[in-house]
């Protein structure tokens, strides 16, 4: 779950910090869990768990709950650990091509409040979008209890995000270059809290791994069809980020060097065959509907010949991906969801035809288990992350009574 900083020893405080964070991670994952389960899962003593739970309760994060329902055999029922009302929450932002979604999300991945608004995709300046997003954030923060601490903001962006500082290097469909969106939003809000920014497909992968179609699966890929084609990779239970954070740009895998020109400057990238513009052209979809390609595809009840060919191309590209990453699961998000429901047979056939036998035999293609909210929940996850690394410190940095601060 956690990857330690290399080479460090474990000192006394680190033990407590890690155990407290791990316990909270379990509660976050399960929502409602018994102390007995925590004891067996964490491999610690009953009394140790009791101490940790007591600390979380005194921090206002969890509260004692009734025993969790189904039991087997005799014995005293184990007390439940549940998430507190007025517990910590985060703001999740999903920046799409034509709209921004903002939600207040509590522990357990509970969407407490949600709004969205159209944004000016093409020529919209970043500060304008930032102002719109800030307004949406104000809206969802209004509804939060004053006592609840705000841990941070997580933002999903359809583009390349530098992991060292969250700078948006390139978001082709927003036409952004080197935008420090975190600073923009914080300035518009007048707040100073941690902002985590990441690529939309990466966050889709994270969310599907945590609470979607990929629960318990430590090697999965979320392939996102969202005008451009991107992917998020979870390997060994961790996000594959790469040196700069740009890993997963699978839309620009070489696919057909005799193919069409891609906006990246090359010929025949995979995206030129299975990207939104290519599909829109194949089904004679008007250009202004490309951003809603998922809905358009959902309107089909039978695949056309062109769509079947696209499905095969999708499968062929996935074969390269399966060979390279050997995932157990590939989740098809964005408009690929609708496409896969139409031409799943062709996709699977194309994959089976081109992948190596060994990696092929253990892989499954699946639809997202969280529907459209994958990415938003992923944004919430990265915002929560500091809380699981060091609960006490993260709560110390969190903001309480955000509403009045926003007013002032």
């Amino acid at each position: 779950m956690s990857r330690q900083r290399a080479g460090l020893g474990t000192n006394q405080e680190a033990v407590r910090r890690h155990n407290l964070g791990t316990l909270l991670r379990h509660v976050h994952r399960a929502g409602h869990i018994s102390r007995a389960e925590l004891t067996s899962m964490m491999g610690l003593n009953r009394s140790t768990i009791a101490g940790l739970v007591a600390e979380l309760e005194s921090l206002g994060v969890t509260e004692r709950a009734l025993p969790v329902g189904a039991r087997q055999g005799a014995g005293r029922p184990s007390a439940g650990v549940a998430l507190a009302d007025n517990g910590p929450y985060v703001i999740a932002v999903d920046l799409g091509v034509d709209r921004a979604a903002v939600a207040r999300v509590g522990l357990g991945g509970v969407v407490q409040q949600r709004t969205e608004a159209p944004i000016d995709g093409g020529g919209g300046e970043a500060w304008q979008v930032g102002a719109s997003v800030a307004a949406l954030i104000r809206g969802v923060v209004e509804g939060a209890p004053a006592a609840a601490p705000l841990v941070g903001i997580g933002v999903s962006v359809p583009g390349l995000v530098r992991r060292s500082d969250g700078l948006i290097r390139l978001a082709p469909n927003l036409e952004w270059h080197d935008v420090s969106f975190g600073s923009i939003v914080l300035a518009a809000l007048g707040l100073d809290i941690p902002v985590s920014i990441a690529n939309d497909a990466d966050l889709g992968a994270l969310a599907e791994h945590q609470r979607g179609a990929g629960v318990g699966i430590d090697d999965l890929i979320y392939v996102s069809g969202n005008v451009g084609v991107g992917a998020g990779v979870i390997t060994g239970g961790h996000r594959l980020q790469g040196a700069g954070g740009y890993a997963g740009e699978l839309g620009h895998l070489r696919f057909n060097p005799q193919g069409r020109p891609c906006h990246c400057g090359n010929l025949g990238c995979w995206e030129t065959e299975v990207g939104a513009h290519a599909i829109a052209e194949a089904i004679h979809c008007p250009a202004d509907k490309v951003a809603q390609l998922g809905e358009v595809l959902g309107g089909f009840d039978k695949p056309t010949r062109e769509l079947r060919a696209t499905g095969t191309a999708l499968g062929h590209g996935l074969a390269s991906i399966v060979n390279a990453f050997n995932p157990r699961l590939v989740v098809l998000g964005g408009y690929f969801r609708s496409l896969f429901m139409l031409v799943g047979a062709e996709v699977n056939a194309g994959l089976a035809d081109r992948a190596l036998p060994a990696p092929l035999e253990s892989v499954t293609l699946a639809l997202p288990g969280l529907g459209e909210d994958s990415v938003l929940l992923g944004a919430a996850e990265i915002a929560f992350e500091p809380l699981f690394v060091d609960p006490v410190a993260a709560l110390g940095n969190a903001l309480v009574d955000v509403r009045s601060r926003l007013a002032g």
Copy 2:
């Protein structure tokens, strides 16, 4: 450095185990290191380090050494921690297409003894190869001090290895399917010790990361030209294995669908353009020399036009890889080493032409820092791994006086 099992808490013994293992890992990496450096790197107290070092000394793993040379400023010089003679060692096996190399490797990656012998690549049955390898192992074990404990055996294989049990699923150039090579070697030796088996490119990546061109670089790829084309990926400092352990099969990325047939059944895999057979054909190298393609290429002093085209194709393929994984370093091993020395300009140009700007700007192509021994040292690394996870337990399982056991 170490990835904990997910969800577990840290109990008392785990702390000591982790600290002892981490300290030993540092000594293994540096070879000779001062206690003061260990104190600052691990973030623990002086007295704690002293206790850990004392335990390692009593285990016979390290011994007290003179202060490490260069110092700055005043103060008492810090005692050195050095590797003990008669310390633990492993057997590393590198199974090539036409020869097997076997070495006795001590902590610090010190090759203490090394042999190799030709093996019957094409039709050689696995048990025959296993017998040859066992004989080589007997040879290098002969030279070991009787008191030194043997921790395990690490084996590198040019093929797909299942990570759950080390089964060799497919080694095309050995013509092996589903071979349990570990059991075969152990049976031939009459011993029972841990055997770790992995793909050659994976181990090359590991070794270059640990002590080669990629020291300190947590995101790198080792691309191996070794008849077939494979790759090992280190991401976030850890091996990218995938669900079954087959990740990194980049030789079968789709490259040119109008291209030549590949032995995997598809058309135009990258391997059909930059694989050994393709290159051999391009330079009119006789078929029986393909296994020595590296040496053959080393004989060129000027690239031919065909080789320059191959270099460009290599660069184009690497562009897809750089887009997908965003490494900071790509190490070109096997015959790619010789090829890169000849046509490095074309490779770099091909890469720069096709990769996305963001991942491109931070990536470097490099030659292996360990030459031909990358893979062998990687095999030693995986054999040592249990020692760093739990030194006391691993030494408890290790064999002492192996020579007499082999005789009996």
